[in-house]
């Protein structure tokens, strides 16, 4: 009789573990889940971590965002930008050339010098930007081929710890990319070199949720000194 490799493996696995039972709910989980920082502290930590990775970070009020986006893009020295289909039109500065990704070819995306997207979450503890690749974040390829990625993160999206992110998103998204700084390697003599294959330049704008909140304003100004731009 011909037993399939699948059945053969499963039979062996089950025979090997027959005597074992062990409860998932009972697994020890005494590690730190919730962070201790307030929103200002989270912003400060996120900014610090991102800068450690070599990313540029600036803060913005919602009102200033469109002009700040335009400014960052102009400053990047690039002309052609890709954007996911859901990105608000006011973020797309008319002085630059845009390709909105409605199934662009890889070649077309490769010709874009940069890309602008939103994000699904930010994790301050590790300086991680999370993309779930919805309409505001776009297909994976648009944040991969262009050399410059400008990512817009709302302050309310920033959690302190990784478990807090998972508490917000307990179901696996269909697609996700977790970005902790620009593409990097240390394969040659452990010397960290940014920019192997992914975008070499990562720029982040953190948008304060309520510009009227004086508390957040002052603390962010203190932490994020790029406001002068």
């Amino acid at each position: 009789m011909n037993v399939s490799p699948r059945q053969r493996i499963l039979d062996r696995v089950c025979a090997a573990t027959r005597a074992d039972s062990n409860d998932y709910a009972g697994l020890p989980r005494s590690y730190i889940r919730a962070g201790a920082l307030d929103q200002a502290g989270r912003l400060r930590l996120m900014t610090e971590r991102l800068r450690e990775y070599g990313a540029e970070v600036v803060a913005s009020s919602p009102a200033d965002l469109p002009s700040l986006v335009a400014h960052r893009l102009l400053e990047s020295g690039r002309q052609h930008f890709a954007a996911p289909p859901g990105l608000p039109a006011e973020w797309l500065s008319r002085s630059l050339s845009w390709k909105v990704d409605n199934n662009l070819s890889h070649e077309e995306i490769e010709h874009c010098g940069g890309v602008v997207t939103a994000a699904s979450a930010g994790i301050a503890d590790s300086g991680t930007i999370v993309l779930h690749h919805g309409p505001l974040e776009g297909r994976r390829v648009i944040t991969l081929l262009p050399d410059f990625h400008l990512c817009i993160l709302r302050a309310a999206q920033i959690v302190e710890t990784l478990p807090e992110y998972f508490a917000c998103f307990p179901q696996a998204p269909r697609l996700a990319t977790y970005i902790s700084g620009p593409s990097a390697t240390a394969d040659i003599e452990m010397t960290r070199i940014n920019g192997v294959h992914g975008p070499r330049f990562l720029s982040v704008i953190i948008v304060r949720d309520s510009p009227t909140s004086a508390e957040i304003q002052s603390s962010t100004n203190e932490a994020v000194r790029h406001d002068a731009i």
Partner: protein
């Protein structure tokens, strides 16, 4: 007759044998490496750098031990319920549009992958670094089938172009320095002006691979984690070559060991925290990708997962050894190991080097090869201390040593081995008090001729040379403790008071 010697841009050594079935034993393979000071310098530097970064980031993590406890318990739980989680993963991955294949051994896995590639009419494949690929020796099989495998991880590319072999699970080219990388790239990429600045070398690799990423329609990857509840696969990387391979091609084949499953998506909250810290000394690696099956319009539209057993179900059945399968391939044990830090990875004759390799390799070989590896350890337990999933590697090493010894006992030709005879003799001598005393007296006389004026033995013949070739031995004293005890002046102690 003129012999044309082709200039090969290698790292100046013969490519080591990394097939455990034919590799020389560890001490034999280690000897020439120990004389290669450049290689030892490179390995020491790399392991020092990773270790110090890792130690720094672990120290800052207040709940490190709690994370280790959770990670360990979670991996043990998966193994105890592996059948259930594998079936869950298969069902959910299939529902998401993936195709799941099962392979009992390396040959079956190679055949499954070659079949898929033939159906795709693939002439080239781009590859993400995958330990499973090296384990089943996929690249030689692809070459035989006329399919060009292009390694896209920078270190793997250096080794592929330099016709060298990986020597570390996470940083496979850590034994090669920048000048050696420059030589390889300059010759193989035709860039005679290339400098040995790591930045220039990285840029050269970037442009060399860019066209491959954009044109090769088939990719092969490993997997860091398989998520049972969603059928997702997670890949953890730094360079972005992984994202390229996972996003640009039309077809993706993922080769994963059956032990790689995690029950839930949220379990990554533990694993991702311990993995990057342990592997590269980062709070989080630059890129982690997660995908379930196929997403229309985004990424490969044909997705295959090959679940590889290759001895794992056998390891699962063994009580002490099962913990070997908890491993998440962070290589922290390699960086911490005083043996690995001297020899690097090639001496292990297996893609899995260091302490984890010393226990995993012989088991994957059904204890029929690589029997010297469990002895390639001082049992200092540094590996256990750094392991993020708390694999008690020394415990498994000792268990495997016992099995190797049992194997030897049953083989007649081993009975004439000097070590075997020596152990038998020791067993006899230590078996009774008078035989032991006799052996001591005999030993004192026998060793007198080898003992120098300084009271040390510098050189012994035969089996004893194994000790004295690397260290001196103190000569036996004129009197044993028991002899002294029996003849001591009993009044001396009292008077001293």
């Amino acid at each position: 007759m003129n012999t044309v010697v082709e200039e090969r841009p290698t790292t100046g050594r013969h490519a080591p044998v990394m097939d455990p079935a034919i590799a020389p034993s560890f001490p034999v393979a280690a000897l020439p490496i120990l004389q290669d000071t450049q290689l030892r310098k490179n390995v020491a530097h790399a392991t020092d750098v990773i270790q110090s970064k890792r130690n720094h980031l672990v120290a800052e993590k207040k709940d490190w031990q709690e994370l280790r406890n959770s990670a360990s318990a979670m991996r043990a739980h998966v193994l105890a319920n592996l059948g259930k989680y594998l079936e869950q993963f298969e069902a959910n991955c299939t529902a998401a549009g993936g195709t799941v294949h099962w392979a009992r051994d390396a040959a079956e896995a190679r055949a499954v992958i070659l079949n898929i590639l033939r159906e795709e009419k693939a002439a080239e494949v781009i590859k993400i670094k995958a330990m499973t690929s090296a384990e089943i020796q996929l690249n030689p099989a692809l070459e035989t089938a006329g399919i060009a495998a292009i390694e896209t991880d920078l270190a793997e590319l250096i080794l592929q172009l330099g016709e060298d072999e990986p020597s570390h699970i996470v940083v496979p080219a850590l034994h090669v320095n920048r000048r050696q990388v420059r030589e390889i790239f300059a010759q193989r990429m035709g860039l005679s002006e290339l400098s040995d600045d790591p930045k220039a070398l990285t840029t050269a690799a970037r442009s060399y691979l860019r066209s491959k990423f954009l044109s090769v329609p088939t990719a092969i990857s490993g997997a860091n984690f398989l998520i049972a509840e969603s059928g997702s696969v997670a890949i953890v990387e730094s360079e972005g070559n992984g994202r390229m391979c996972l996003t640009l091609p039309q077809t993706l084949i993922t080769l994963a060991g059956i032990e790689k499953v995690l029950p839930r998506f949220t379990d990554l909250e533990v694993m991702l925290q311990v993995l990057a810290r342990s592997a590269t000394g980062e709070r989080m690696n630059p890129y982690t990708s997660l995908w379930s099956g196929i997403t229309p319009g985004d990424g490969p539209q044909r997705f295959h997962v090959v679940l590889l057993d290759n001895g794992r179900s056998e390891i699962l059945a063994r009580k002490v050894e099962r913990q070997t399968l908890q491993c998440i391939r962070c290589a922290a044990c390699l960086n911490a190991c005083p043996v690995y830090r001297q020899t690097g990875g090639h001496a292990y004759g297996s893609p899995y080097a260091g302490p984890i390799g010393a226990i995993l390799t012989p088991q994957l070989q059904h204890m029929r090869h690589a029997q010297s590896l469990p002895y390639a350890s001082s049992l200092c337990a540094a590996c256990y201390e750094v392991c993020p999933v708390k694999i008690n590697i020394p415990e498994v090493l000792i268990e495997l040593r016992a099995q190797v010894t049992d194997q030897q006992r049953t083989r007649v030709r081993e009975w004439l081995d000097p070590m075997f005879l020596g152990m038998k003799a020791a067993n006899f001598a230590f078996g009774s008090a008078w035989r032991f005393r006799l052996a001591q007296r005999f030993g004192r006389i026998a060793l007198r001729g080898f003992t120098g004026e300084d009271g040390w033995i510098h050189k012994l013949p035969s089996l004893g040379a194994k000790w004295t070739q690397s260290r001196d031995l103190r000569g036996l004293p004129q009197q044993t403790f028991r002899e002294w005890w029996a003849t001591r002046d009993r009044s001396a102690g009292k008077e001293a008071k």
